[in-house]
């Protein structure tokens, strides 16, 4: 794990998010909950690729701005009955600084594949 400091906690609005651009162009959304917990997911909804960083954050979920899929911040999983997973990254708060491990995600090629239903047809 290699955490890097990316911003101060107050640089992310409570119940909001900021986008982090990795050197290779991949964008990671870093979320802050009402309890000041931080989470990081690839900024890409498993449904149609919507930017999750632009969604409305509530509890430990975010609603995608494009079609309102709800994604769990803790595991990147879509709320049932929707199926799909956004890539998750490690993030934490240390001494008021938000730290992210931008290479901690596991690429999940299956996550963006059609849902199991469609695949079975």
């Amino acid at each position: 794990m290699t955490f890097i400091a990316i911003c101060r906690l107050e640089d992310i609005p409570s119940l909001g998010a900021r986008r982090f651009k990795r050197d290779d162009g991949k964008v990671i959304a870093v979320f802050r909950t009402a309890e000041d917990k931080v989470f990081a997911l690839q900024d890409k909804c498993p449904h149609k690729g919507g930017p999750l960083s632009q969604g409305i954050v509530f509890g430990e979920s975010v609603a995608c701005p494009l079609h309102n899929w709800c994604i769990g911040l803790n595991d990147g999983k879509a709320l049932a009955p929707d199926e799909g997973t956004a890539e998750k990254f490690e993030a934490r708060v240390t001494d008021g600084m938000v730290e992210l491990d931008p290479w901690s995600g596991v690429d999940m090629p299956m996550a963006c594949a059609p849902s199991t239903d469609a695949a079975a047809e």
């Binding site: 119940l15 009402a34 509530f58």
Partner: protein, 813 residues
């Protein structure tokens, strides 16, 4: 499993009991150790679909709702084929007929109902059966394979479905009915006669006003051979089906000493007189009524689960029910009081040639009942009017022709789901065809519109296909799915309605979202993506300059002041007053487009220029360099005032519509509202600005201005209604502004003016705005107060509370 969990025992493995368990598992998974007893040797199946099984249209496997695996996955101990015979309330255990004993902390009775058996001689003969469960259905199917003649006693819903199924399986069927016409509890005589004719054409025979005196045996003395009627007629019968009604199965409750009056008596939280014992479903009497349709039972299950989960906030206050007959090829709908009586009026449409009959019963300007035969597409809408007690006086002349929840576009004009092919597209927004919906309903056991929306996305975007989806639900899953509770809660976080939330904010002078959540005891700590934007709007519109905006509770478009596009870029629409521009604005736009590589420039329907594909990082610079006001094309707010050129140039123009439009736009811009608001001003009745389909449409005539309201050019084209006629520009501003302020103060979030006016009535709006001059001026002043000092977010972002950090992505240090 931990040992210290409380134990929940459910007696009854049917639709109501298991629905309550499902709802409980959603709210509080793992709270209880759950044991379920079922007298039948099957897992829970959809009893409503027995008729399609009998008719050979579905199989038993098709109608199973919860498989054995489901019980196992949820750690539920299931005892099938065991009938609970004893409840020991002191020692708190139940005992089944095989001696199985299970202790409980909470007990849920869902024992359903028993068919009523006529007390006539011969009722115990072989070949005499009732119609209640899959066992009965299988016996009928077996009988139909070897026997020829069937008599069904009872011409109600169940009897007719049984008769139809037996006929389809090749039997000769006669229906014996005590009353003068079929389904007398759901239909009036005219509709029943049409139904009887349709069924007679299918080959069914009828004996009406006929009482069964005895069932006669054959030579062996054991098997039924005929049904003897009171007139002396003897109908030969190898099979007799009794479908003369049901009664709550209360034997167990009675033996346990629980209060029973018709059914097991429960209160609004579905508790019996023993507070540890709950009861739901057909065995229950709630406020003196025992329900036999699925929608009320599911509502009971939802409330009961809420209390079992120890949330303790839901109440069941009874249901209105509607009926649809599940006989393929018969379209029939009935709801409410359709017989009329003192003070009632009828509106009737009768077209026997086309097999269509509709009767609407009104009392005190409200719809109280409806019978539809042959064309039932409006049933859902009419039922909604009945449930909600809507004042129908303003739409009396249109009531008969319905609304049907169907938009004008997107489904090739289809309005009958039954005749659509599986490959036909139902939901044009999400590309969902009929087969996909049918499959999801069957495979996932869906029952409500909401569930279909969640699983298939059909009807979840623009909603114009809602009527079709409801019909598909009805044909596929059976039953009556429109009987949702009258009170529609705002979202899953609360049981309060939009109106209750608005009222609380005003009466309690609530000024922040947390204050609303605390006062109304919200179930979630910070709401969800549907309630937060609504409450934020209610606070700001009720207490302008007092309540503080919460950008994080706004949809992204209103947070970044641009429209998000499918690829995550944004579109920018600068304001052009009344749709008029000039060379220097156009030059600046052209420069910005070049400088920021904006890929697409498009003219919008509201006479503006849309710059599409702007990167989020570029938004602040684009706004600055455009040096034009925000067009608010991204907001639930005043969008545009569309104008024709008017009397300045047009040879037909009677009024200066462009100037009027610009005055309106300058007076109303930055005005947030429950939904987007679009205006138009035309300079003459040729109406080139299309004022007839706008939220407020103004049409100039030689003597002044006509104001129209509540039009809509969207999903369902709605022509605006005439509001009033005024003379001066100032009056146009005041009347239009006052109407919009009324909408701002009393509309529900995401309700367009057309729906707002339908809900409260055009007459009400006229009273408040046109007839009451004092109130009109007060509304107009409140709107001006609210808009006073409202900043332009593009050019005063700090004042508007725009989070500017959002435009700068973080990068590795």
């Amino acid at each position: 499993m931990k040992l210290d969990k409380p134990k929940l025992v459910v007696v009854g493995n049917g639709m109501a009991g298991i629905r309550a368990v499902e709802e409980l598992l959603k709210l509080a998974p793992g709270l209880y150790d759950i044991t379920v007893f079922g007298a039948e040797p099957h897992p829970n199946y959809n009893r409503i679909l027995l008729s399609p099984v009998l008719a050979g249209e579905q199989t038993f496997d098709d109608i199973v709702l919860n498989t054995h695996e489901w019980y196992a996955e949820n750690n539920i101990v299931l005892h099938t084929g065991k009938k609970v015979v004893k409840i020991d309330r002191r020692a708190r255990f139940v005992e089944a007929d095989d001696g199985t004993r299970v202790p409980y902390d909470r007990l849920l009775l869902a024992t359903g109902s028993d068919p009523f058996i006529l007390p006539v001689p011969g009722k115990e003969l072989e070949g005499v059966i009732t119609y209640r469960d899959i066992h009965d259905t299988e016996r009928m199917i077996a009988a139909a394979a070897t026997k020829k003649r069937a008599v069904v006693i009872g011409g109600g819903l169940l009897g007719l479905e049984a008769a139809n199924g037996l006929k389809l399986r090749g039997m000769e069927v006669t229906v014996v009915h005590l009353m003068p016409w079929l389904m007398e509890r759901q239909l009036d005589r005219t509709a029943a006669d049409l139904l009887q004719k349709t069924l007679a054409d299918k080959g069914l025979a009828f004996r009406l006003e006929a009482k069964t005196e005895a069932l006669l045996p054959d030579a062996s003395g054991k098997q039924v051979a005929a049904v003897k009627l009171n007139g002396g007629e003897e109908l030969p019968a190898d099979l007799v089906v009794m479908a003369v009604g049901i009664r709550p199965n209360t034997g167990l409750a009675v033996s346990a000493g629980l209060h029973v009056d018709r059914g097991v008596v429960v209160n609004d939280t579905l508790q019996t007189y023993d507070p540890r014992i709950y009861a739901v479903g057909e065995c229950v009497a709630h406020r003196g009524i025992a329900y036999g349709l699925v929608a009320p039972l599911f509502e009971q299950a939802r409330v009961c689960a809420n209390h079992l989960a120890q949330f303790g906030v839901a109440r069941y206050s009874g249901s209105q029910v509607s009926t649809k007959l599940k006989v393929t090829g018969v379209d029939l709908f009935s709801a409410g009081n359709f017989t009329g009586g003192e003070g009632c009026e009828d509106i009737v449409l009768s077209d026997p040639g086309a097999g269509v009959y509709k009767r609407l019963v009104l009392k005190d300007d409200k719809l109280i009942g409806a019978v539809l035969y042959g064309d039932t597409v409006d049933g859902t809408w009419l039922f909604k009017l009945i449930r909600e007690g809507t004042n129908v006086a303003p739409m009396r002349d249109r009531l008969m022709f319905g609304e049907s929840n169907l938009g004008d576009t997107g489904h090739q004009g289809q309005n009958k789901a039954a005749v659509m092919a599986d490959s036909a597209e139902v939901c044009g927004c999400n590309g969902v065809c009929k087969g996909t919906i049918t499959k999801a309903i069957k495979e996932k056991g869906l029952f409500t519109l909401d569930e279909v929306r969640k699983h298939t996305k059909a009807s979840s975007s623009c909603g114009s296909c809602t009527g079709l989806v409801e019909q598909i639900l009805m044909f596929t899953a059976g039953g009556d799915y429109s009987a949702a509770p009258t009170k529609k809660s705002m979202c899953g976080c609360t049981d309060h309605t939009h109106q209750e939330v608005r009222d609380a904010i005003r009466q309690q002078h609530l000024l922040s979202i947390p204050a609303v959540y605390q006062f109304l005891e919200w179930r979630s700590p910070n709401g969800c993506a549907s309630c937060r934007p609504a409450i934020n709007y209610y606070l700001l519109s009720t207490w302008p300059h007092e309540a503080k905006d919460d950008p994080q509770s706004r949809f992204i478009n209103e947070r970044s002041h641009a429209n998000i596009q499918k690829d995550g870029t944004y579109s920018v629409v600068p304001r052009m007053w009344g749709g008029e521009t000039n060379s220097s604005e156009l030059r600046r736009i052209a420069n910005v487009v070049d400088k920021y590589n904006i890929p697409t420039v498009k003219v919008t329907g509201g006479q503006r220029l849309d710059l599409l594909g702007v990167k989020k990082e570029d938004l602040p610079a684009v706004w600055k360099e455009l040096d034009m006001p925000s067009g608010h094309a991204y907001a639930k707010a005043l969008r545009t005032v569309k104008t024709c050129v008017g009397s300045d140039w047009c040879r037909f123009g009677t009024q200066n519509s462009t100037l009027m439009g610009q005055q309106l736009e300058r007076a109303l811009w930055r005005m947030y509202a429950p939904h987007k608001v679009k205006l138009a001003v035309s300079g003459c009745p040729r109406n080139c600005a299309e004022s007839g389909i706008k939220d407020v449409g103004i049409i100039g005539v030689d003597s002044g201005w006509e104001i129209y309201v509540a039009g809509n050019g969207g999903i369902k084209t709605e022509v605006a209604e005439f509001f009033c006629k005024v003379t001066t520009h100032e009056e146009v501003l005041e009347y239009s502004g006052a109407f919009l302020q009324l909408y701002r103060e009393e509309g529900w979030y995401l309700e367009r003016t057309v729906h707002f006016v339908k809900r409260v009535g055009l007459d009400y709006c006229k009273q408040r705005v046109v007839e009451d001059a004092t109130n009109r001026k007060a509304l107009w002043e409140r709107l001006q107060f609210a808009l006073d000092g409202e900043p332009d977010p593009w050019h005063e972002p700090e004042k508007a509370g725009v989070d500017l950090k959002q435009f700068i992505p973080l990068v590795p240090a």
